[in-house]
């Protein structure tokens, strides 16, 4: 899986996740899908509604967000490609919690944010048998 994202949208994600530090933040990715390449054309931050005292290591998208963005993408002939979230002061690799809650054929962008600085972005996809993730290629395009 190859995920293409414009530099501006990449920076939008980083800004959002730096702003939510030391808590986790996240949002949805909308765009186009062609063969094994997904191209992000929109980034939509959403509210983290996990219990406030747990948000330093948990993210849960607000109720209704998935439906809203999926309906919007479907209506415009676009695709809800996946979502992004941060791992504060931790690596940008999926956790067991991520695996249990993950969906196949979705792009999982994880950003490591350390001391309020975004240090790494990686993209993952759940394997069909749900046993783990495969890392995808992240391509950031100059804008």
């Amino acid at each position: 899986m190859r995920l293409v994202i414009a530099e501006k949208l990449y920076q939008d994600i980083l800004r959002h996740l730096i702003a939510t530090f030391p808590n986790e933040g996240g949002g949805f990715l909308i765009g186009t899908l062609a063969a094994d390449q997904r191209t992000v054309t929109e980034v939509h931050p959403v509210e983290n509604v996990f219990e406030a005292e747990e948000q330093f290591h948990r993210f849960l998208a607000e109720d209704g967000a998935f439906q809203r963005f999926e309906d919007d993408a479907d209506a415009r002939g676009l695709v809800l490609l996946g979502y992004y979230h941060s791992h504060p002061d931790a690596p940008a690799i999926p956790s067991e919690f991520d695996r249990v809650h993950a969906w196949p054929h979705f792009a999982y962008v994880i950003v490591s944010v350390r001391s309020a600085e975004a240090v790494e972005m990686r993209v993952w996809q759940l394997q069909d048998d749900r046993s783990g993730f495969d890392e995808g290629e992240l391509a950031i395009q100059p804008t």
């Binding site: 290591h57 067991e96 919690f97 809650h101 969906w103």
Partner: protein, 95 residues
């Protein structure tokens, strides 16, 4: 017959179809029909025969967990939808 909307990440298992026509007079029967048509969906919806915690089934705007769960009745004009909870977080790394 009624219809059920498939979430984007599972459409790879329904030939890209977003809406599937299904039959059944309860949610359980509808999901049985759906997974009979598309068996690859089963492992992503159920775990040991139970609906996964982060899989939500709605009839219209109502979550079936606030009705009778899988035994909630389904009428022919109902529109069902599978809605994933989108969550992430840190605990133990697996990759």
């Amino acid at each position: 017959m009624t219809s059920i909307k498939i979430p984007t990440p599972l459409r790879a298992y329904t030939g890209g179809q977003a809406e599937i026509t299904v039959s059944g007079d309860t949610v359980a029967a509808v999901l049985e029909d759906l997974t009979g048509q598309f068996p690859e969906l089963r492992s992503h919806l159920f775990n040991d025969g139970q609906l996964r915690d982060f899989v939500n089934i709605f009839i219209g705007d109502e979550d079936i967990r606030f009705r009778q769960g899988l035994e909630t009745g389904v009428h022919s004009d109902d529109r069902l939808r599978i809605i994933p909870s989108i969550a992430g977080g840190l605990v133990v790394f697996v990759s």
